[in-house]
Subunit: 338 residues, 2 copies
Amino acid sequence: MTLKGRRETVLKIIVQDYIIGAVPVASRAIVDKHGLEVSPATIRNDIACLEEEGYITHPHHSAGSVPTDRAYRYYVELIGENIELPSGEQYLIYHLLQETREEIEQWLKLAAAWLARVVCNVAVITSPGTTRSRFKHLDLVALQDFVALLVLVLYGAKVKQQVVAFDRRITQDELTQLANKLTSIYAGMASSEILANKVELSPEEKQVSHCLVKMIAAEDKLEYGKPYLDGLHLMLSQPEFANNPKALNILEMLEEGSWLGNISCRGLNKGEIKIIIGEENPEPPLQDLSLIISPYGIPDKASGIVGVLGPKRMDYAKAISSLNYLSLLLSNSVAEYI
Amino acid sequence: MTLKGRRETVLKIIVQDYIIGAVPVASRAIVDKHGLEVSPATIRNDIACLEEEGYITHPHHSAGSVPTDRAYRYYVELIGENIELPSGEQYLIYHLLQETREEIEQWLKLAAAWLARVVCNVAVITSPGTTRSRFKHLDLVALQDFVALLVLVLYGAKVKQQVVAFDRRITQDELTQLANKLTSIYAGMASSEILANKVELSPEEKQVSHCLVKMIAAEDKLEYGKPYLDGLHLMLSQPEFANNPKALNILEMLEEGSWLGNISCRGLNKGEIKIIIGEENPEPPLQDLSLIISPYGIPDKASGIVGVLGPKRMDYAKAISSLNYLSLLLSNSVAEYI
DNA sequence: ACTTAGCACTCTCCCCCTTCGATTGCTAAC
DNA sequence: GTTAGCAATCGAAGGGGGAGAGTGCTAAGT
């Protein structure tokens, strides 16, 4: 399945030129701009072969070459995953994150904003959810006589809140006591374990406990939560979306929020990268796009996904190197605080 | 400045037809579809007057009538603010909110989703921020030996979190004690008051207190926070955005998040509505759009904004009635839990 | 003073045609 | 395996031209 010699070079040039220019690549342009020592006719022979093997198409008979999904796939295998981000850019994002290191949400927003601008496409980052959320701490704050705010802290520094209405008047002292009791009983448990726990509880404790189970289970369910998105306008200003009604489908899907749930990250280790090109995507609106994702954080404890979404014609090298570095940074940050 | 008799009717018809159809309205269509007992020529005379007075333009010489900003303004004054939402739709959203009433964030997302779909445009809802955030409760959860998660609850059921690193090892018991102490000292205070408070504190307490002030002040600063947006794809599927590069500017502005800060809600009481049409908007990207906003919640304690953003050619009656009702619902919900 | 019919005029939209330029695919020669 | 040459193909851009929609104006009617 590997091409050799000039064939491979030609394919690489076509992909790269198309990524930059977004217009079909002519055989003459291939030799001229890259100093090949053969004539355009020779290149055309090569291209004919590449077309037969499914790497190239032409939008119409007398147009230049356009890479197929297969060509992009070949290209990304060729350039590999070990691309380093220029140290200047490493420096920039590193210090950006240093300055807001106290707040997870801030990191993620900032990281998404940076990533989107670097790759000129959509950046996707999910918060570092524990794959199975585990209870860490509980707090109850009186709001009114019968009503309290339940603040739940999960491992992975995730905070959830919910209002609880009790059947009787209940003081802040009682609430605090209740919260402390449940915190010590349930420390480190997942929702199923809390449910299975057979300690004797008062009606109010039962009620709170019930809430907890529901909240933790809900957190488990939306495996990755709603991701931080940034750079929509950057992606949609790419030429493929000019006058293109498909852009709306994509927008709709992204706004809906759960699309990332269908993309499996299984079997992917920290530092690895998954590249999904065009029709390899399960979701139809994504089949004109490429998605590159990489997990970060601590497997099974607090891990999230960071990714780039853009037209198939995206700068894969840049995206891969940015993701590599960002995923590393985020992993380190997460490790410090779990 | 008020028009009379048929003039007003004609203007109203033009606005309404243009809102529905998005195409210039012809004089013949005005008499035919609305059963007027005059000839198109008569209507044309009226239109000529309306044009002189600045209510109407024509995209070109032989095209039908298109309302100006001034016409929209006249129209919304005409229909007034007291439009009731059909009871069927009231029922729907009422019960939707009932079911998730325990979680503020859930309400707001749900409300935004509903609103966007009803008006087929962008829905904007800010969380009910207290105009000056006040301290309610503090909690500290040990993450590592030197590191704790600070969970801050503000009035208005707002929860903020931040990681704090201490200079010495500190146990969960100590943290709990510390949190309780500060909670009782600072109850109900605004950031400035906490800062001015002269109680003797240990170094750790000082550090946490310092964090608190910073967090509360930060909350005050972004007056409305980042709003919940929904329905972007609905708005952008309107005909005015087909093949229109302006859509990207709007997208960019909305993604940025702080645009709503420039729109003043001052002098607006609960239940009132502010309608900003086209060039009345301060932000250039908004000058092709109309924005309708209404405050909700409890003035000076916990209030937010709910609004609709769409092309000037939007269904004002629907938007106004939806906002009226939604703002009422949200106000009630907020009142219950503050 | 208001309304109307009639008509010329204007402008867009759509379709067809042509031209131009770019680029390929093929063939035959090297 | 490579090249030159050449016909064939296709899209983009531009130029009519006709159809249709709608107005503005004028002069007559109420």
